[in-house]
């Protein structure tokens, strides 16, 4: 009886784990297919949704399709600029919200959640309405995309840095002050290094949000084409296999960065 119970216990324990792992596998199936298709030779066929022959030529001739690499570079540029600005402004705001008491703090704490809880299509059309009514309707482009990206990245930066900052042991800063470190020295030698993993995670998140955004960007881009807009455009007529190469590279780089940040955080914590 005991053996039977133990067996059923083992099964129930592992069924949950197996189920969970199955869900995780499901999350990776499309990515495995993107990687596989990056080696697909479809030069003989117009069907871009089936694997024909194995080839490296998509990788060696990455920038073959017209306009694709230009759009990737444009997205990287906008992503870096938006990340830089959103990370700096967001980190300052996180310090204000965690370390300072000021009138309107609780309102700000609510406002920063709203962009994360609004549908992108509504935020995108609101911003377009603002630009058009302000007379910038004909001048949509890189600048308006940048403004939009900083806007939706800010909330994510503030929330991420805030989480790290409020988990910080303030005794460490007190100790530095007790040992006659000035306020500036304490900040740069103690506070900043301890908060840095949070800032790095926030920057990483910002960049990938910016690089990947389609709905808000598409409404506010005018004639400018970012990488997701390029993919959207070619999706109507047939996707060049090189798109899968870019997808694979993005996945590998971000996985490496996320894992790197995870180990760095673990070592310091």
């Amino acid at each position: 009886m005991n053996g039977l119970q133990r067996a059923s216990r083992w099964v129930s324990d592992h069924i949950v784990l197996a189920g969970g792992l199955l869900v995780l596998v499901y999350m990776f199936v499309p990515i495995a297919i993107v990687m596989l298709m990056s080696f697909n030779d479809n030069s003989e066929s117009r069907n871009v949704y089936a694997f024909r022959d194995f080839t490296f030529s998509n990788w060696t001739n990455m920038c073959g399709p017209d306009g694709m690499c230009e759009s990737v570079l444009r997205s990287i540029g906008i992503g870096l600029a938006a990340t830089l600005v959103a990370t700096i402004l967001g980190t300052l705001a996180a310090f204000a919200l965690v370390r300072h008491n000021f009138r309107g703090r609780s309102v700000m704490n609510t406002v920063i959640f709203l962009p994360m809880a609004s549908p992108e299509i509504v935020m995108g059309s609101s911003l377009l309405a603002l630009f058009v009514s302000g007379g910038f309707g004909g001048r949509l482009g890189v600048v308006t995309i940048f403004i939009a990206h900083v806007m939706f990245c800010l909330s994510f930066v503030i929330v991420t840095v805030k989480a790290r900052l409020s988990g910080l042991d303030q005794n460490l800063e007190q100790a530095a002050m007790d040992l006659y470190a000035s306020e500036a020295t304490t900040f740069w030698r103690i506070t900043f290094p301890l908060v840095f993993p949070g800032i790095a995670a926030a920057a990483l998140l910002s960049f990938s949000l910016s690089f990947d955004d389609f709905i808000i960007t598409n409404l506010n881009a005018g004639q400018t084409v970012t990488f997701p807009m390029y993919v959207w455009g070619v999706a109507q007529r047939g996707v060049p296999m090189q798109v899968n190469v870019i997808g694979t590279i993005m996945f590998l780089i971000s996985l490496a960065l996320v894992l790197g940040n995870m180990f760095a955080t673990r070592k310091k914590a």
Binding site: G20, P30, I31, V132, F214
Partner: protein, 282 residues
């Protein structure tokens, strides 16, 4: 803290201004746009008015895509809740020292292009793809039935794309649960399933509420899945708004529909939070 009383304001100011000008004020612009007289155009300019009839017009014309968006997003959220709970529970309680790594793996697909992942589903669900083949061999699908261009494909895409938004908040609240409470239930002769229903599930409710909101809201506004995996019969409200803005140039209708979507979502969220009894959450 003994710093100057104004430091907080100065630190908050740049981000606060950015959000005020490019997030809060645009809602007023949208509201104003939605009341424009639809006789104007982007080129000739609009007569600023208070034409509330715009809302009636768009509701009459586009109630189907609006309702469809809410239905698809609702179904996708429920499926995400089941799958996400299973995964979050497994990571929180069964994964041992692999926890952090599994968590990273949950986030990793999220860092790969949304559009490319959705196109990948187009390939998986294609008419000569392996899933359709398998279902046809098992006679679960007729020879000429398709998966693509059906609600099933669109909902499958929504489930896939928004699953991480469900898993992370669920994990955050499951992880906080004191394991001794579940043990205590067991000591008091509760069966494992009863212990789960009476202890674990109620304690994870904040995660359930946050996860369902973070999944439902973006799913209701999404139009990428409907466009790439569906057909004109699966058009969601996002597709309509996008087309009205960029193709038709009918800003008044697009604005009105956008405002309507936001109002419906906010109303549903408020009712839901009240029902779920976690008002302190927000």
């Amino acid at each position: 803290m003994r710093r100057g009383r104004l430091t907080g304001y100065w630190l908050m100011l740049p981000a606060g201004l950015w959000l005020a000008v490019f997030f809060v004020i645009p809602f007023y612009s949208l509201l104003a746009t939605s009341l424009y007289d639809p006789e104007g155009s982007v080129l000739t300019g609009y007569d600023v008015g208070y034409r509330f009839a715009n809302f009636v017009d768009v509701l009459q014309e586009f109630w189907r895509p609006l309702l469809r968006s809410l239905t698809y997003a609702g179904i996708a959220t429920l499926i995400c809740l089941v799958l996400g709970y299973l995964l979050a529970y497994a990571i929180a309680f069964k994964a041992g020292r692999w926890r952090t790594l599994l968590l990273v793996l949950v986030i990793a697909p999220f860092f790969t292009s949304f559009l490319i992942r959705t196109l990948s589903w187009k390939l998986i669900l294609a008419d000569d793809g392996f899933i359709v083949d398998a279902l046809q061999t098992l006679h679960l699908m007729g020879e000429n039935d398709r998966l693509l261009a059906t609600p099933v494909a669109v909902i499958a895409g929504l489930v896939y794309n928004f699953l991480p938004f469900m898993v992370l908040p669920l994990y955050a609240s499951l992880e906080k649960i004191d394991g001794r409470l579940v043990e205590a239930a067991g000591d008091l002769y509760a069966s494992p399933s009863r212990g789960f229903l009476k202890v674990t599930l109620p304690l994870s409710m904040p995660g359930v509420v946050a996860g369902t909101l973070l999944t439902f809201i973006p799913a209701a506004g999404d139009y990428i899945n409907a466009q790439l995996l569906g057909s004109t019969n699966q058009r969601m409200v996002g597709n309509v708004i996008q087309d009205l803005f960029t193709d038709t140039g009918d800003y008044a209708a697009a604005g009105a529909l956008s405002v309507l979507l936001m109002v419906v979502i906010v109303a549903m969220v408020m009712v839901y939070i009240r029902k779920a009894g976690t008002e302190e959450l927000l």
